[in-house]
Symmetry: C2
Subunit: 217 residues, 2 copies
Amino acid sequence: MTDVKEPGLRERKRVATRLAIERAALDLSLDKGYENVTVDEIADAADVSPRTFFNYFPSKEAAVIGHAPEGPDPEKIEAFLEASAKQPILDGIRDLLSSFLDAKSDEDARATHQLQETRMRLMLQNPHLFRQRMETMEDATKKMIEVVSKRLLVLDPALESDPTTLRERARLVVFVSFAGVRNAWASWAERGGSGRLTECLERSFEQLHQLSSQVNV
Amino acid sequence: MTDVKEPGLRERKRVATRLAIERAALDLSLDKGYENVTVDEIADAADVSPRTFFNYFPSKEAAVIGHAPEGPDPEKIEAFLEASAKQPILDGIRDLLSSFLDAKSDEDARATHQLQETRMRLMLQNPHLFRQRMETMEDATKKMIEVVSKRLLVLDPALESDPTTLRERARLVVFVSFAGVRNAWASWAERGGSGRLTECLERSFEQLHQLSSQVNV
DNA sequence: TGCAATTTTGCAGGCACTGCAACGATAATG
DNA sequence: CATTATCGTTGCAGTGCCTGCAAAATTGCA
């Protein structure tokens, strides 16, 4: 009855290859510097042909950036909407973001976790890559806007009649939250990536609140 | 006594070429779609060799994106710091940003203005390019953070003793402002680029203020 | 085992971009 | 004006990213 069927050899090989490529890309980049690594090298290290590399990833960047998450977990979204009235909305969003910022769950073992850590160290050295990652989160952004819209609607049902304003407001809230994320990352990067990123996120969102009170001066 | 010396033939040719390339790049991209235009075509249209194209711009993107402004005008910065106590800081930043968002001055004629308009229309069709432009404003970001730091210091001299917090706070304010810009652009883009972009910017920053009051629920 | 579906690979080629060295035009000097 | 120095332009050769296509290898299934 589980829809989690034992994956065949094909599928297993597929994920293995994908992982091998990602690992190769990250390790090499961390070692020699992202710019100095060629796709051919990565393919070699991953034991596939260069052509196969591009069957798995559309670009060299994509391999090191990793899947841009398409959105937060549905359960988290539930919780977010639940808490509509009891919690500052920014706090809700912070929780939503932190859950898919610092990667993940036990579903795909600790191999993935290790990858993520390498990825973060690499982004620390190449701010360019972090920004690029932020930019490629278009899907996530859309979903966030939708979800935030719903919650804003709960807070102020009157907005139902003005979907345009609703949408704009939701978008702004999401963008501001992303500003919080960027700031958190910058803080974290400034101290060389020591400490927990989520801590920086919390501080960042706290300052966001404080900003609200000061800003109207 | 003016330090604006008549530029020689060399210099004049140089700016002409640069302009020709930019125009060619923008017009062709708007016409055939950015992805479908090659550097060779642009060079042809601008009557230079492909190699020369890269003497003027480091990449195809750079040609259509244009110079990322390095920062607001010094005078504007003056005014911004002047107004420290009399004006909400976000309003100050909004003025600072709008001045270099919707391009410019009379210094380099209306040719530049025309270019800028084409550029905006192009970015409307390729959101990717707008985001890229935002990302490449690293210099401007740094300067903004500096300036905002100064102003925050005026507001709360106690921060002098804690440069780290000061810096972080300033950075957050700048990032939030950029969120406002992104949102303004999105609004403007959603209505197909009709109306004035600066209007969207104003509405965006107004909502930013309103957000402040609502957010703490 | 034999057939169908899918994945891997090699190959040819396009496009972005770079360093280098020759060439050409402008500027500076006598 | 002639000479020389300076600086921009160009062609060329080459690297690297990326794609489409078709053959070969692998896996799934009867």
